[in-house]
């Protein structure tokens, strides 16, 4: 059994009893990476020297006694769109291949304060645009359950590294499903917090009204720990929620008697793989067995979410990515004819096809004459989608469905068809548009590949989402399955 299969409290007990050291944990991480990362390619950059030095310092602290941080000594991987001081942060883009951040993202600073040990930076779709990691400009990442399949994306490296046991847990980001979809494909737990719960300071912006950092873990308890460490208001992010952060661990009571669960008919209808549907329906029976009341509802505007999202997210991206102009940082084209040519050639050489496609779509949707027809229209439909959730949450505690309509697809099978790729996000996107929290947890296998169960909660009610997820997990064995690598 790997050290990373131990519960967090058990790891801490063993550290305290001097049965293991932080250096042992960090060694286990790099050893495992050495064994399996050649097959799955989850990492873009290892931060081994710093990690070993940190481990040594933490071991000295341990020997001296005294208090320990919440995540003391645990090896963590960080998605490469979250800036890390002194450690290259590329967003998996050629444009930033040498970008060396001069500060830490707030979430990274909080991980360090909680005394987790950063192992390295994880692969992703370029600028978080994609759902397969095939859009990384460096190399793809492969699914640990079967390397012929994608790990999902855009936080594909973050999900694969946890599933493969290379790190204890990881950070990802989720704009339209980028934590939950790869968590589903890789058979782990992925939580997208309420918009604004975790500071976006230092998260390279994709779509600012949708982006959110969150944890990818092997189980729900670890998710609560990691969320506890990173949540909270940040003066450096004026959109971060100024609310008191509850104790998420104490929410994990196992008691969901009388809990009201809504299952939207749109989430089990056409386009959902029957095996995924079966797994979700079996999961609902487990929740009913624990005393939850499950009823069918309707989120009538679900079918409009993907179109709304691609217009809004691309518009915001076209504006956010305007900063990559080759002037202050990033690549600069050689021998530009003039300043305008410097912008054009630097951007054209630095960005990959999907990034260009979204910048083009967003620029078009925001351009004179089309703004009302596309951007404003999409903002109005966003209101309708959000109202769907508001109405259901008047009578229910959580909304449950599959995370993704299917299990992971084969590498290369959708690269030439952006529209099909976009439709994989049909069940995750509405959550970002509404700004509410949602978790994906393993609920079985279909043809050997993991299926994810999505639990969606009210704004800032991560406690209930985690409680339901934990209650389900305690009564099933799916989260204990590991890929054979």
């Amino acid at each position: 059994m790997s050290l990373f299969d131990l519960k967090l409290q058990e790891v801490h007990n063993r550290l305290h009893a001097k049965e293991i050291s932080v250096s042992d944990l960090v060694n286990a991480s790099y050893e495992r990476i050495g064994q399996v990362d050649g097959k799955i390619q989850a990492f873009l950059k290892l931060d081994e020297e710093n990690a070993r030095a940190t481990a040594k310092a933490l071991d000295e602290q341990l020997a001296a006694g005294g208090t320990r941080g919440l995540l003391f000594g645990l090896p963590v991987g960080i998605k490469d769109n979250i800036v890390t001081e002194g450690v290259t942060t590329t967003c998996a883009s050629q444009f930033l291949r040498n970008f060396n951040p001069v500060y830490d993202a707030t979430a990274v600073r909080k991980l360090k304060e909680a005394q987790a040990v950063s192992i390295g930076k994880l692969n992703m779709d370029e600028f978080a645009m994609g759902g397969s990691n095939e859009n990384s400009s460096f190399h793809p990442t492969y699914n640990p359950w079967n390397p012929e399949y994608v790990p999902g994306g855009s936080s594909g490296g973050s999900a694969a590294a946890v599933a493969a046991g290379e790190v204890y847990f990881s950070l990802g980001s989720d704009t339209g499903g980028s934590i939950r979809q790869p968590a589903s494909y890789c058979g782990i737990v992925g939580l997208k917090p309420t918009y604004g719960l975790v500071s976006r300071f230092g998260l390279v912006a994709f779509a600012s009204s949708l982006d959110q950092i969150g944890p990818l873990t092997k189980n729900v308890e670890d998710s609560a720990y990691l969320l506890q460490a990173i949540a909270g208001h940040d003066p450096a992010d004026s959109t971060s929620a100024n609310v008191e952060i509850p104790d998420y661990l104490s929410a994990l009571t196992g008691d969901i008697k009388g809990l009201r669960v809504a299952i939207p008919k749109e989430y089990l209808g056409e386009g959902i793989d029957p095996k995924v549907r079966d797994a979700v329906q079996t999961a609902l029976k487990v929740l009913e067995g624990l005393g939850a009341v499950v009823e069918e509802v309707s989120l009538p505007h679900s079918e409009y979410a993907v179109a709304t999202y691609y217009l809004l997210a691309s518009s915001e991206a076209s504006s956010n990515l305007a900063r990559f102009d080759g002037v202050r940082y990033g690549v600069r084209a050689e021998n530009p004819k003039n300043l305008l040519d410097l912008y054009h050639t630097s951007r054209s050489e630095g960005f990959g096809p999907e990034v260009k496609r979204r910048i083009m779509l967003g620029t078009y949707a925001l351009s004179s004459g089309y703004y009302d027809a596309y951007y404003l229209k999409a903002q109005k439909v966003r209101t309708l989608i959000k109202q769907d959730f508001d109405k259901v949450f008047e009578n229910y505690d959580v909304v449950i469905g599959p995370t993704v309509p299917t299990t992971a697809f084969k590498v290369g099978s959708q690269v030439n068809d952006p529209m099909t790729m976009y439709l994989n996000d049909i069940l995750t996107i509405p959550v970002n548009l509404a700004g509410v929290p949602a978790i994906s947890i393993p609920c079985g296998l279909a043809d050997g590949m993991p299926v994810g169960l999505q639990i969606i909660g009210k704004p800032l009610d991560e406690s209930t989402v985690l409680r339901v997820a934990h209650a389900y997990e305690q009564n099933t064995e799916h989260h204990k399955l590991r890929p054979q690598l």
Binding site: F99, V102, T345, Y364, M419, L433
Partner: protein, 95 residues
């Protein structure tokens, strides 16, 4: 509404992107497919609906206008592709 290759050329200029002819053709095709799908939104009557720009209720966040330390110049310039005398160098703007 459909998008022509001239539209793609125009939008590329606005986005400060230089596209090869092959890229222009491919993008015209792909953007048309995406925009055709987006027309689905026109099935909904949204005349009386307010737009949502942000999922949480937020108003402007203000702070006192007092000076505070910023990054030191060497950090600011650490990633600059071309610099001279503590400044970032670019091609001449006026020729």
């Amino acid at each position: 509404m459909s998008i022509s290759i001239q539209d793609v050329e125009h939008v590329a200029k606005l986005a400060r992107l230089e596209l090869s002819e092959q890229e222009q053709h491919k993008l015209t095709e792909q953007l048309n497919a995406i925009l055709k799908y987006a027309e689905k939104l026109n099935e909904l009557d949204t005349d009386q609906v307010e737009p949502t720009s942000h999922p949480m209720p937020l108003s402007n966040v203000m702070r006192e206008d007092v000076s505070r330390p910023s990054l030191p110049i060497e950090k600011v310039l650490l990633n600059a592709p071309d610099e001279e005398d503590g400044q970032i160098r670019v091609p001449a703007v006026l020729e």
